[in-house]
């Protein structure tokens, strides 16, 4: 096990910076997920940790040793690649054996490790097969086994589930989670899938355009997004964002008016341009005489079983609400809405930063 530390790490291709001096601390045994849209620099960051890409600037340490100039093989890292990177002409056993070759272990030790790892990942029946004779999920497990058999200090995963179908993805995701609990190895895991990130991570690192937008536990990034990007990136369907102005202690937008929650009252000034965010689950339909936040027209309804998604139009604004399926109104109906004030997020209209965090 090893801790990892990135200090002002930059990756530059020619004149173009793709990673802009990021700082990141990963504790021993921590499961850290790098999350972001494609092109955000998450895979480049992972490959720098692996040593497959040079660090252009800054300092990268693994286990308190600066490894900028250390060869990949001497970093104590093992990687699971997106397309598994198995040797197609070798059997499962030979794939694992080849990973162990540089360690020059005794025959008996090599066999012991291979057999133990194979049992751990349920591959003991498949050792004589070639990758072409395995299913996608099995290949994924072989890729993990090949990384695991070397007993690395750090495990790197590069979008390991993106080539699997939805059902298998859930299954292998669980297996990876269990594996981490059992081995306690430090894991850095790259994905663009927020469900993977939320379910697996001790700590999520959300990246965009080569910058880290927020680092925190899954609860933190979901409930206290630092800015609009994080707020809309985490959560599905995405958080609704409504432009508004502060007026008379209220957030006033196009055909919408919401009471400013207590915790924000001291952080806004009258006339300030802001954007407020509300998650689709925090919008409810009113049927009584209570004070409504807004009135909306239902444009499309999407039935999901337990819930229904409503595409709503309020003036020029489109919103999505998630309501219990039995409350689902008809399309084109007029509905009265209530936004849960406790669940409101307010962002600066210009910087996109959350006002909640800014004042601290």
């Amino acid at each position: 096990m090893s801790s990892i530390e990135l200090k002002k790490v930059v990756k530059r291709y020619g004149a173009v910076d793709v990673v802009h001096g990021i700082d990141l601390e990963i504790a021993e045994g921590e499961f850290v997920v790098l999350l972001g849209p494609s092109g955000c620099g998450k895979t480049t960051t992972l490959r720098m940790i692996a040593g497959l890409e040079d660090v252009s600037d800054g300092e990268l340490s693994i286990g308190n040793q600066v490894v900028n100039a250390v060869a990949p093989k001497d970093r104590g890292v093992a990687m699971v690649f997106q397309n598994y990177a198995l040797y197609p002409h070798m059997t499962v056993r030979q794939n694992m054996e080849f990973a162990l070759r540089p360690l020059r272990l005794a025959r008996s030790e090599t066999d012991r490790r291979i057999n133990e790892t194979a049992v751990l990942l349920g591959l003991d029946e498949l050792l004589a097969r070639r990758p072409s004779q395995l299913s996608g999920g099995q290949r994924q497990r072989v890729a993990m086994a090949r990384a695991l058999v070397r007993t690395p200090d750090v495990f790197l995963f590069d979008e390991p589930l993106s080539n699997l179908d939805a059902k298998l993805r859930t299954q292998v995701r669980l297996e990876i989670g269990k594996l981490h609990k059992r081995l306690g190895t430090t894991i850095v895991y790259v994905t663009h899938d927020q469900v993977e990130a939320m379910t697996l991570a001790d700590k999520i690192v959300i990246m965009q355009d080569g910058h880290i937008e927020q680092t925190g536990s899954p609860q933190e990034v979901y409930t206290r997004p630092r800015n609009r990007f994080v707020a809309t990136f985490i959560g599905s369907p995405a958080m609704n964002i409504v432009p508004a102005t502060i007026s008379d202690g209220k957030l006033v937008g196009d055909h919408v008016s919401v009471e400013i929650p207590e915790r924000f009252k001291k952080r806004v000034q009258a006339g300030q341009k802001v954007e407020f965010g509300i998650r689709p689950t925090e919008i409810s339909l009113l049927d009584g005489a209570e004070q409504a936040t807004a009135t909306a027209r239902v444009e499309v309804t999407e039935y999901l079983g337990d819930e229904a998604l409503l595409d709503l139009r309020i003036g020029s604004q489109e919103l999505i609400a998630e309501v219990p399926a039995n409350q689902c109104p008809a399309e084109d109906a007029e509905v009265r809405l209530r936004f849960n004030p406790e669940a409101l997020h307010i962002f600066d209209a210009e910087t996109g930063m959350s006002l909640e965090n800014q004042a601290r």
């Binding site: 497959l52 397309n83 540089p102 070639r130």
Partner: protein, 295 residues
């Protein structure tokens, strides 16, 4: 041909006719005629003597002659010399030009030039290079304190002289095929090996080579078939000499037919050569059909 409607069939046949006729006239008829001749005694120098049917006599004569056996040995010897060097050199250069280094794209293109030159020209170029007194090869070797060698007139060097010219011309072919195969390999297994710390030799021997093996087999068979028919370069450089040192099968056929005018024997030798090539091609397709991952 089910998609050709009946009324179009006539037009179809008319358009196909020229190609079929040319093919028949230049390939099929000569082959059948050679087959016919191989069973006859036919001396081109005695035009008005009837071509008598002699049964298998021509074949018996060839297969029992030590001269023919010798040309077969020379042919296979030359094949072994050229193919082995072309394989090692071609793969080596391919590994080099597929590296991401500056100038490799240009190098790759320049290296293809020998392949585009007609073998007769290649023969002439090397003839000048090999020339004992005036040739550049001996001139440059003299700086190393070597030579002068009688490249094409010494029994020790003549076969090598031909092999070198053939290697020069055809190594790019092996290089090109191998480079294409290398470029097609996915990079991740190599990155995995880099992380695991496998040595470059291990990676080449156990990861690269097994994966490009099917391509290498194909390239070698194509080269083998060509090498078996080698003629032009030898005709220009040595004409089979000195003595019969470089007398390959094609030279034997040529000599029988157009030096000694023994067309029947020449035709029979052509057929023996054809049989050997067919055997080679069959082996080739068998090896192609085998699952490369099952070997």
């Amino acid at each position: 041909m089910a998609y050709i409607r009946k009324r179009n069939r006539k037009i179809f046949l008319i358009f196909m006719m020229p190609a079929v006729l040319v093919l028949f006239g230049t390939t099929i008829y000569p082959m059948l005629y050679a087959g016919y001749l191989s069973f006859r005694s036919y001396d081109l120098a005695k035009l008005f003597v009837p071509r008598v049917y002699v049964g298998w006599a021509n074949y018996r004569e060839i297969l029992s002659s030590s001269e023919f056996l010798h040309t077969l040995i020379v042919t296979f010897k030359l094949m072994a010399m050229t193919l082995s060097v072309q394989l090692v050199l071609g793969v080596g250069i391919a590994l080099l030009v597929t590296q991401r280094l500056p100038g490799m794209g240009v190098a790759r293109t320049l290296l293809l030039i020998p392949m585009m030159i007609s073998p007769v020209i290649v023969g002439l170029v090397w003839l000048f290079l090999y020339f004992p007194e005036l040739g550049y090869l001996n001139y440059f070797l003299s700086f190393l304190g070597l030579g002068p060698y009688a490249w094409i007139t010494s029994t020790d060097w003549a076969l090598w002289a031909i092999a070198i010219a053939d290697i020069w011309q055809w190594t790019p072919f092996v290089m090109m095929g191998t480079a294409a195969a290398l470029t097609n390999l996915s990079p991740e297994p190599f990155e995995a090996a880099k992380l695991d710390g496998n040595s470059p030799f291990d990676v080449f021997w156990r990861v690269t080579l097994p994966q490009i093996r099917p391509v290498l087999i194909s390239l070698m068979f194509l080269r083998a078939i060509d090498a078996f028919k080698i003629y032009d370069i030898i005709f220009v450089l040595t004409k089979g000499g000195p003595g019969d040192t470089t007398e390959v099968l094609s030279m034997f056929i040529y000599r029988q037919s157009f030096t000694f005018w023994r067309m029947g024997v020449g035709a029979a030798a052509s057929f023996v050569s054809l049989v050997i090539i067919v055997v080679l091609i069959t082996l080739f397709f068998k090896s192609l059909n085998r699952d490369p991952h099952q070997a």
